[in-house]
């Protein structure tokens, strides 16, 4: 009999939480043959990622995953063998009581946000003893073998390499998105939160020596783009040109298509957690817009990743990379930083692929979760 897994996702804002849990649920089903229920408290957010879903349904099957509406008035269900509360969301009290009362023990996991900070390894996999006799285990995704790893589907890199090696596949994909590739242009994708530094970057791209094609999936960064461009409100499909810079607004696309967009581009600006990881699997240089926190707590997390990521780059390339990421996340002089980064472009490109391969040598998050369950049994 297949092990049953329940994944609970409370959508805080944006699509990061549901993006990660939906991806994880699909992988557990497809690669590990598990019976997975994904409980989502905001079905409309889920439909954004899975357009064929119906937000009005309390239960539906999508790609082998039973997707359930996590309603405020919780109806009792039999808990699964493994229960994941994603990003420390609060499970329904009735459900926790049912877990405690279940004849067969339940593995309860709190899947945390991704961080490269040192303390993660020391806390990964530790139990949290509860007053009801249950233990909840903290599971931390991460970049080292002492952490829970990163979400990466089996065969992802093989698919990616085949796609990147096939110029026709790339052009076909872009055309299906309505994008006409600009000959000789550096192709950049831009997915970010609102960012006051954007205008300064675009100014440099527009005035630069090389043509740049900037693809912007619908999202929060559009307001910053609109501020810089001026004129009528941007709509999906709109194109604009400023000097060497060709801009196109894309629709919000499902995860598999977004992967291909990242694989198609020479440089990817990403945000949050899910797109940040996917950009690393694209093996191309990237720029991370980290989720901003009070008291600049996010900058420590940013620097922890940079300290790790920049290893192996020459000193000049390290300085350029760190300066660019800091400028993007702290409203700094990103135009100058971009110009500096371009000086080490071949090295940054090789490094992105090396980084990807090194991370891919570790167990992926889904595999690590399944292994954790088997060890726990």
């Amino acid at each position: 009999m297949r092990a049953t897994w329940d994944i609970f996702c409370s959508v805080v804002d944006n699509y990061g939480d549901i993006g990660v849990t939906w991806r994880l649920a699909r992988q557990l089903v497809a690669e590990h043959g598990l019976a997975v229920r994904l409980w989502v408290d905001d079905p409309a957010a889920f439909v954004h990622l899975c357009p064929q879903a119906d937000s009005r349904l309390l239960r539906q099957e999508q790609q082998g995953v039973e997707v359930c509406a996590w309603a405020a008035d919780w109806h009792a269900v039999e808990p699964a063998d493994v229960v994941i509360e994603a990003f420390a969301c609060e499970l329904p009290a009735v459900y926790i009581a049912a877990m405690a009362g279940r004849e067969q023990k339940v593995l309860w996991l709190n899947l945390e946000y991704l961080s490269a900070e040192d303390w993660v390894e020391g806390c990964h996999g530790l139990p949290s003893m509860q007053s009801n006799g249950l233990s909840k285990f903290f599971f931390f995704p991460g970049f080292t073998s002492g952490s829970g790893g990163l979400l990466r589907e089996r065969g992802l890199l093989t698919q990616r390499r085949a796609f990147q090696a096939d110029e026709g596949a790339r052009e076909d994909f872009l055309r299906r998105l309505g994008v006409e590739p600009v000959a000789g242009a550096l192709l950049i994708s831009l997915f970010a939160y609102e960012n006051a530094a954007l205008g300064r970057w675009l100014q440099v791209l527009a005035a630069g020596p090389q043509r740049v094609q900037l693809l912007v999936p619908e999202g929060r960064i559009l307001s910053s783009l609109q501020d810089w461009l001026g004129g009528p409100a941007l709509q999906v499909g709109d194109t604009r040109q400023r000097g060497q810079l060709h801009i196109q607004v894309l629709p919000f696309i499902p995860q598999d298509q977004y992967d291909r967009l990242l694989w198609s581009c020479d440089f990817n600006a990403v945000r949050g957690e899910d797109s940040f990881i996917r950009a690393q699997w694209a093996g191309r240089p990237l720029l991370w817009h980290i989720y901003e926190q009070a008291d600049h707590a996010h900058l420590e997390k940013l620097d922890a990743f940079l300290a790790f990521y920049k290893e192996g780059l020459s000193a000049d390339a390290q300085v350029a990379l760190v300066a660019l990421w800091h400028a993007w996340n702290s409203n700094g002089p990103i135009g100058e930083c971009w110009t500096q980064l371009l000086k080490s472009w071949p090295e940054q490109t090789t490094h992105a692929e090396d980084w990807c391969l090194e991370r891919a040598s570790q167990a992926d998050l889904a595999e690590a979760l399944v292994q954790f369950y088997l060890n726990w049994l």
Partner: protein
């Protein structure tokens, strides 16, 4: 009930009917991750130890403990012996004293608190502020007098503390035992 963040080392929480002594507690908050407290716990009934982690706002049930003033007397392998003012002696090993071990030095005169659970001593608490002598530190690198520039220094038992750049060997300093942080220079204890 107290939050996990409020539970300090050398306090005891009742978890699922079992008394657990908190030997060590480290608070961490970063980015979007929930603030967490990593703890080293010792079961006071079975003697087993475990590491655990709680969200900082998780609720734990504290156990009210008896406390008696004691001072450190001597080390008798493998135990550290403390004495109260009626000359009763209490022996604790290194594991029992994990959170205060960095500050245990021969000849210390701090009035500590022995912590009892069901009549048995389980740990010792130090005062919030203690005074210790620096036995080694490098000279001042920049001549800083503000106290904001810090450098490493060693105490007589080998514990390393970050101190103000202007501190020297043989100086006495105040240390906050809750955080392990240097507070200021101090006069030698009488």
């Amino acid at each position: 009930m107290k939050t996990a963040q409020e539970m300090k080392p050398n306090s005891v929480a009742l978890i699922d009917g079992q008394p657990w002594l908190i030997q060590k507690a480290e608070f961490t908050k970063s980015g979007r991750n929930s603030a967490i407290v990593k703890m080293k716990l010792k079961n006071l009934l079975s003697g087993s130890s475990t590491e655990t982690v709680y969200k900082a706002d998780d609720k734990l049930e504290p156990v009210i403990l008896d406390r008696v003033d004691v001072t450190y007397s001597y080390y008798s392998e493998p135990n550290y012996v403390f004495m109260d003012n009626e000359f009763n002696q209490y022996e604790l090993n290194k594991d029992d004293l994990e959170s205060v071990m960095p500050y245990i030095v021969d000849g210390m005169t701090d009035v500590c608190e022995a912590v009892f659970f069901e009549g048995k001593v389980v740990s010792v608490d130090l005062p919030t502020t203690i005074v210790r002598q620096i036995t080694y530190t490098e000279g001042s690198a920049r001549g800083d007098t503000s106290g904001k520039v810090m450098k490493p220094a060693k105490l007589s038992n080998g514990t390393e503390v970050k101190v103000a750049d202007f501190c020297n060997i043989d100086d006495w300093i105040e240390i906050d035992t809750r955080t392990g942080e240097y507070k200021s220079r101090a006069k030698a204890p009488v």
